[in-house]
């Protein structure tokens, strides 16, 4: 039995410890928001968080993930209370086909958690691993920048100083 903590819930799974985390999420836990795209960490569609860091679940053996807290797209926000990144994605009308967007959003959330005001180089670096075949890169960049700007409140900075 393998113990997995996903979105705050503990699960016991009878699966091969070498199986990639992606398939446990999708097939055993039916968290289908996380997508299969390439199977070799080339496209980012399978991105989830392990202890707050973006990882590619398609190449992460489930055994590696047993010790940590896994977060998927399903738990980033709640209905009626979306994460600011999800709100920004709607404001900028980012998705087209939408298939890569769970992964894009998970990478963007991890980036902003670590760096609330990323410059263009930081966005490039954090997001280069997520392919969007619909090519919505300009909108992704703007959406991330808008969240960064929101979280940066000069008035608050002055008060804090």
């Amino acid at each position: 039995m393998i113990t997995l903590k996903v979105n705050g819930e503990v699960h016991q799974l009878d699966v091969d410890p070498n199986m990639p985390l992606l398939w446990a999420l999708r097939e055993n836990l039916q968290l289908t928001g996380t997508k299969f795209g390439c199977g070799m960490a080339q496209c980012g569609a399978c991105t989830v968080h392990l202890n707050g860091q973006a990882i590619r679940s398609c190449v992460t053996p489930i055994s590696v993930a047993t010790s940590g807290e896994i977060t998927t797209i399903e738990a980033i926000g709640a209905e009626g209370d979306l994460h600011p990144v999800q709100e920004a994605w709607i404001d900028h009308q980012v998705p087209q086909c939408g298939y890569c967007q769970s992964g894009q959003i998970m990478s963007a959330v991890a980036l902003l958690d670590n760096n609330p005001n990323p410059d263009e180089a930081a966005i490039d670096q954090a997001m280069a691993g997520n392919i969007c075949r619909c090519g919505m890169y300009g909108r992704i960049k703007k959406a991330i920048q808008s969240v960064g700007v929101q979280s940066f409140d000069p008035a608050q900075e002055v008060q804090d100083a």
Binding site: T32, Q93, C132, G138, K141
Partner: protein, 746 residues
């Protein structure tokens, strides 16, 4: 009495009463699909397909039943905008449903089964409507989203007409009840209003009465000045589900008792299984069965990963097809040889033959010749190909995302040798289509596997399978010869190429050239063809707009001015080209290593010009900016159109820079995103889109952004490096020899 009106040329309108009270309106269209198979089913003016349905429920909600798949192009939202605007509906009252994949969708029986619920159709209507539609609808198996047709065909001739017809019968019903002239009643915000008598009602109040009125044979459509929803920004209806993981793609389907399958197709197209050793694979954990499909083998297991692992342990011997030693170089050599031979022997087929090319070539001051080529391309949708199937008691259900639900139904039925009504398609979101999801090889495989193992099966192709068993944008060679007079004017244009698909006009040029011959030769290969975003325009846009650029250079003219001066007879093209040039600051002097290129391409009813800025540094091509101008006639959804330009440009840019499916030993070499590369966020240029609403007939959006990027880029690279790119992809070129080291290094 429910009635139907003949609406010549465009279509036919029907009304009916909902089971629950309310109005249903159907509009039949003459089909405008690109698929040639359709033509044989539609042979007379009397044959139509119902494409659009609207219903108004007693609670005043309005539902548009839209026959197009949502693959990210926002068509369902834009189509709904068109309907709501013509009706005078409030945007928030309108929802859409994607039409189900049943033949009856295309005829009045749909009303019986799907819209009207259990209510009977008035007898008077049945023979007329069914008689009219059945012949086509029953044999018809196409319901395609493709060819950028959603807005310009279904939208203009279906949604708008349905909306206007609904408005007119509602207004007339209200006018009858209130005893006022219909012309004094306004339909606005889902209400009917007569100012003078202060009469006011929700649409639903007159829906049932309206259903008794014969719709006009030609309802009056709004003029652009009257639009309140079309041309305005509305948020796409499908986006919220795509930011929280709840959007259900084909790959997300869950069916009780479902098992998982992985598959391996014959590496060489056309080969079949001669023998296989499954002893090791069958013993692996979770494996339930191994299915020989002839041209592929599939492993079925409890989980996908188990199936994939076991598949690696199957040993297969494939048959010899005779193509086992074929590679890309030989294929291109064959194209060149076949083109030259057909040209010489006069066995080519003409697309265009005007004036006297031979005489004009003979009188030329300058003859320019060039040979171009493009490689095979895969679609590589983000969502790998997949389908889930259940076969039980001679019936089949399939869960998938498809560009053509009716086609899927008929193809699966044919493969299983059952009647089409015994197949049910459950449509899901498409994780990219680009033409790939208009064919149903995967659905057929899933159905055959599910039938053989006797349990529902979700079949997922690995990315490698997806790249190696696509239906490819063909590799194409194109040979050019042009005559210039002493002023540099083009006096003759001759072009011969291989591979002819659609649209017919793809290789034509908009420029005023008196003597033209455009023709093609046959040169077949074993690599399967598929429609790839913009189809033939994807290659001919690159060929013709690169060669025109070469001619501008040969004539010692500015590439923008050269094109401009040949377009005085094409004011829309001229306006689009000029818009792009002006917005891009064409004519500005660029620093060493930078280049700016331009292209112009009309496709799918829209005209697009692009100006690309590149920097070539240490041999690396960096695309800095793309300025795009488009005249689509009218932009129903300006942000949606802009998004389609951005998408089409990045898709075409990936192909222009990197796209290269190579054949070695008869099989595709590439397999995943590391060797079949896509543009990534850090490489993506800034894209500016400028829309010109010329109010010419409305054009498409999904494809027209793609053809112009490769030539504009190649032309920019020429300006930056002096190297003329005549073969894609650009990443195969070595530009390092042109590098000028920075002064401080020297």
């Amino acid at each position: 009495m429910p009635s139907l009106g003949k609406w010549t040329r465009r279509g036919l309108i029907t009304t009916g009463v909902l089971a629950t009270g309310g109005l249903a309106i159907g509009v039949a269209l003459r089909p405008g699909h690109r698929a040639p198979e359709l033509a044989r089913f539609v042979t007379s003016e009397e044959e139509h397909l119902v494409n659009v349905w609207v219903k108004i429920a007693p609670d005043n909600t309005i539902t548009a039943i839209v026959p197009h798949s949502e693959m990210g192009q926002g068509a369902q939202t834009a189509l709904t905008q068109m309907l709501a605007d013509e009706m005078g509906a409030r945007w928030d009252d309108v929802t859409f449903i994607e039409a189900p994949a049943i033949d009856e969708y295309a005829n009045w029986a749909l009303g019986k089964g799907f819209i009207l619920g259990p209510a009977d159709i008035p007898e008077a209507l049945v023979p007329t409507v069914d008689g009219l539609f059945l012949q086509v609808a029953k044999t018809m198996n196409l319901q395609i989203t493709g060819g950028s047709m959603s807005i310009r065909s279904t939208g203009v001739y279906g949604m708008r007409v349905a909306g206007a017809a609904a408005r007119e019968v509602l207004v007339e019903a209200a006018a009858n009840a209130w005893g006022v002239p219909p012309g004094e009643i306004v339909a606005k915000n889902s209400e009917l209003i007569h100012e003078a008598t202060r009469n006011r009602s929700e649409f639903a109040g007159f829906a049932e009465a309206a259903a008794q009125i014969a719709p006009s044979s030609s309802p009056r459509l709004k003029t652009p000045e009257e639009f309140t929803i079309m041309g305005k920004h509305v948020e796409r209806l499908d986006i919220p589900a795509k930011v929280d993981g709840t959007a259900m793609f084909g790959i997300d389907a869950v069916v009780p008792e479902m098992k998982h399958a992985a598959i391996l197709g014959a590496p060489v197209f056309g080969a079949v299984v001669v023998s296989m050793d499954t002893d090791a694979a069958i013993k692996q954990p979770g494996v339930l069965g191994i299915v020989n499909l002839g041209d592929a083998i599939a492993v079925v297991a409890d989980g996908y990963w188990q199936a994939e692992q076991a598949l690696k342990a199957v040993q297969v011997e494939w048959s010899q097809t005779g193509n086992e030693h074929l590679n890309s170089d030989e294929i291109f050599a064959k194209f060149d040889a076949d083109i030259a031979a057909a040209w010489e022997s006069g066995t080519t087929t003409d697309d265009v033959n005007t004036g006297d090319v031979v005489t004009a070539m003979g009188a030329a001051d300058n003859l320019v010749e060039a040979r171009y080529r493009v490689p095979y391309l895969a679609h590589s949708c983000m969502e790998p190909m997949n389908a889930t199937a259940k076969v039980e008691n001679g019936r089949c259900e399939v869960w998938l995302g498809t560009q053509n639900p009716l086609g899927a139904k008929h193809e699966v039925a044919q493969a299983l040798e059952i009647e089409p009504p015994r197949v049910r398609i459950h449509q899901h979101f498409l994780g990219g289509g680009f033409g790939r999801r208009a064919t149903h090889d995967v659905a057929i495989q899933a159905a055959r596997i599910a039938k053989e193992v006797g349990v529902p099966v979700k079949l997922i192709w690995s990315r490698e399978e997806d790249v190696r068993h696509d239906r490819y944008r063909p590799a194409v060679a194109s040979h050019f010869k042009a005559a210039l007079d002493e002023s540099g004017q083009i006096t003759a244009w001759e072009n011969v190429f291989n591979e002819k698909h659609e649209p017919d006009e793809a290789p034509t040029i908009p420029y005023a050239v008196a003597n033209q011959r455009i023709h093609f030769a046959d040169s077949s290969t074993h690599v399967p063809f598929g429609a790839w975003r913009s189809v033939d325009h994807s290659q001919h846009g690159f060929f013709t707009e690169s060669f025109v650029d070469e001619l501008a250079i040969a004539a010692d003219k500015d590439p923008y001015e050269y094109r401009r001066d040949m377009l005085s007879h094409k004011p829309r093209h001229l306006a689009v080209l000029t818009k792009a040039a002006v917005e891009a600051n064409w004519g500005e002097v660029l620093t060493e290593g930078r280049g700016r290129g331009i292209s112009l391409q009309e496709s799918f009813g829209s005209i697009v010009a692009q100006v690309v800025d590149v920097t070539v540094e240490k041999g690396q091509v960096k695309v800095d900016r793309v300025v795009c101008a488009i005249d689509p006639g009218f932009a129903v959804s300006p942000d949606g159109l802009t998004a389609q330009m951005e998408s089409g440009i990045i898709y075409g840019l990936s192909a222009a820079l990197y796209g290269d499916i190579q054949i070695q030993n008869g099989a595709v070499v590439q397999g995943n995103f590391h060797d079949y590369r896509s543009v990534r966020l850090n490489e993506a240029p800034v894209i500016e889109t400028h829309i010109i609403n010329s109010h010419a007939p409305w054009g498409g959006a999904g494809e027209p952004g793609t053809p112009g990027i490769a030539p504009a880029l190649a032309n920019a690279v020429y300006q930056a490096t002096g190297t003329r790119v005549r073969q894609l992809p650009i990443s195969n070129y070595d530009f390092t020899y042109r590098v000028v080291e920075p002064e401080e290094v020297i």
